[in-house]
């Protein structure tokens, strides 16, 4: 019996060692960058063997990045893009999903099928015409050119429709009898009932918007309008490219994602599951 318990303890220890090792492999790139961002100007960034713990830990890189590079500007730009990049898809997708889930009308099935069919078309295939359309409607260089093309997705409509379908009929019937307007039913009765799905769609949109790199790269030319991703990408190649500073910039870009992730963990997992539907 005693032997058995001992074996169990050893197994548990091995189990935890494996978990920790995998965790270390997962976060080593972050730790390394974090360590670089704390190194002083006199310390070599790259040395053999690599120095994980800086000789002197300093926050001066963060201060320098924040004060001398346009990082705060990029940060604000990213936030502006994210706010619109979340609000528009939530409103527009739940607008389209409402009649598709709750109303009977001629052509409903056909419209739903067309929308679902567009999910099969990868964004990589429509990239060039989308670019040309943005150019043609005069949105080049503007945030609208980045936000509008992604505002309505078949996937978002599908997600919201599924949520609306799960609400019992009686809910809106009584409201309609009481003389409520259709948009009031949508806004005050149905939307509050699908809050978890709204959270899921918001999170997916937020990650998509915060990490969006390709479209800002294609559309924006004025450095003052760059979001953080594009700003960091461009900074890497310039003469200010001091590795410690770029590392500090990368860390700053990670913070919002990390904070949102820690606060809304539950929804992130939900969002991951539903995002797989679109493949």
């Amino acid at each position: 019996m005693g032997c058995n318990i001992k074996r169990k303890t050893i197994n548990t220890i091995i189990y935890h060692i494996i978990l920790i090792l995998i965790a270390i492999v997962t976060i080593i790139p972050f730790l390394w960058t974090f360590s670089t961002s704390l190194k002083g100007q006199n310390e070599a960034v790259f040395s053999f063997p690599p120095q994980f713990i800086p000789q002197t830990i300093t926050l001066e890189n963060y201060v320098t990045v924040w004060n001398t590079l346009p990082i705060p500007r990029y940060f604000i730009n990213s936030i502006i893009l994210a706010v619109f990049g979340v609000i528009l898809p939530v409103i527009l997708c739940s607008m389209a999903a409402f009649p598709l889930a709750r109303m009977e009308f001629r052509g409903r099935q056909a419209i739903f099928l067309i929308i679902m069919a567009t999910m099969m078309i990868p964004g990589e295939v429509t990239m060039i015409p989308t670019y040309l359309i943005i150019n043609r409607v005069g949105l080049m260089g503007s945030y609208a050119g980045i936000i509008l093309p992604g505002a309505v997705s078949a996937f978002g409509i599908f997600l919201m429709r599924q949520a609306f379908l799960s609400i019992p009929r009686e809910v809106e019937e009584s409201a309609l009898i009481d003389g409520a307007k259709v948009w009031q039913i949508w806004l005050y009765i149905l939307l509050p009932m699908v809050k978890p799905t709204i959270a899921t769609l918001s999170i997916l949109s937020f990650i998509g918007s915060w990490n969006n790199f390709l479209w800002p790269l294609l559309i924006l030319s004025d450095p003052d309008t760059y979001p953080l991703t594009l700003g960091l990408y461009k900074l890497q190649g310039t003469f200010v490219a001091n590795t410690r500073l770029i590392a500090a910039g990368a860390m700053l870009a990670l913070i919002p994602i990390l904070v949102v992730f820690l606060f809304f963990q539950r929804y992130f997992i939900e969002a991951a599951y539903s995002s797989a539907v679109k493949g």
Binding site: Y15, I18, I22, A23, V25, T26, I27, P29, F46, F48, P50, L92, C93, M95, A96, P99, L100, R102, E104, F105, I114, T118, M120, P122, E124, V125, T126, M127, I128, P129, Y131, L132, I133, L148, A151, V152, A154, E172, E173, L176, V182, I207, N211, F213, L214, L218, T229, Q236, T243, A247, A253, L254, I257, L258, F261, Q265, A272, Y273, A276, G279
Partner: protein
Amino acid sequence: MYRSHHAWMFLLIPGVFLVVFTLLPAIGALGLSFTNYSIFAPVEWMGLKNYARILRDGEFWSAIRVTIYYWLLVTPALVVLPVFLAILVNRDVPGIAVYRLIYYFPVLVSVVVTAMLWKWMFQTDGIINYLLSLFGAAPKSWLTSKNLVIPSLAIVTIWQGLGYYMLFYLSGLQSIPGDLYEAADIEGANFWQSHWHITFPLLRPVIFFVAVVSTMSAFKEFTLMLTMTNGGPIGASTTVVFLVYEKAFGELKMGYASAISCILFLIILFITILNQRILEDDNSV
């Protein structure tokens, strides 16, 4: 109770968005692929000439080879490794939620930051070479070597995807009744036997799902190449979509690039249909 004009009222604005930014571009891609459109020059109808040229274009076949190579490295790893990761974290021990969060986090990191983190990892005097040197291996130039660049990028993709696919396996595992394992335990099955006979057969639909999703994303990948290697060295990491990007926005050959993207669409469509066939066969058994 509702009138049909209510329905159209709600569909109108989102519908316009879908038409302008999804439906039109889809038709546009096909249309452009029959022209020599290049923004500045007058447009000329080319018929199928673009397609004929692509099939004789060495760059295109090189991109196909690179994409398939990348896919062959990434997908098997992302199908197999997350299963074990999910088995590991599918236990009710204190702190397990923290491990799950750590494993999942790389999924959320933007490609630009990912590229920075890993460029430093792969640097000649970086950590990976240092670790290898402990085993007596000579330092390698990972991202600038023709032979190592795709395996290096695959490592980054696997690192980033593990936690994502782990979640799907985890939910698959949690739907397997625990008494199956207890029964196996009583019968004297060891760890490998019980997973081989219980876990893997019951996870089959999830395994298949992960294979399809990771295949699709491998075939569409290019921003990782754009940020880490710019398709190089000498095209060694130029995937199909990267080639589309380069032709369209680098050389402004929009017509030609559209034709390549239409071929990519056919490949992806083929995978989708194949996947549906297999699923149907699976259900009929």
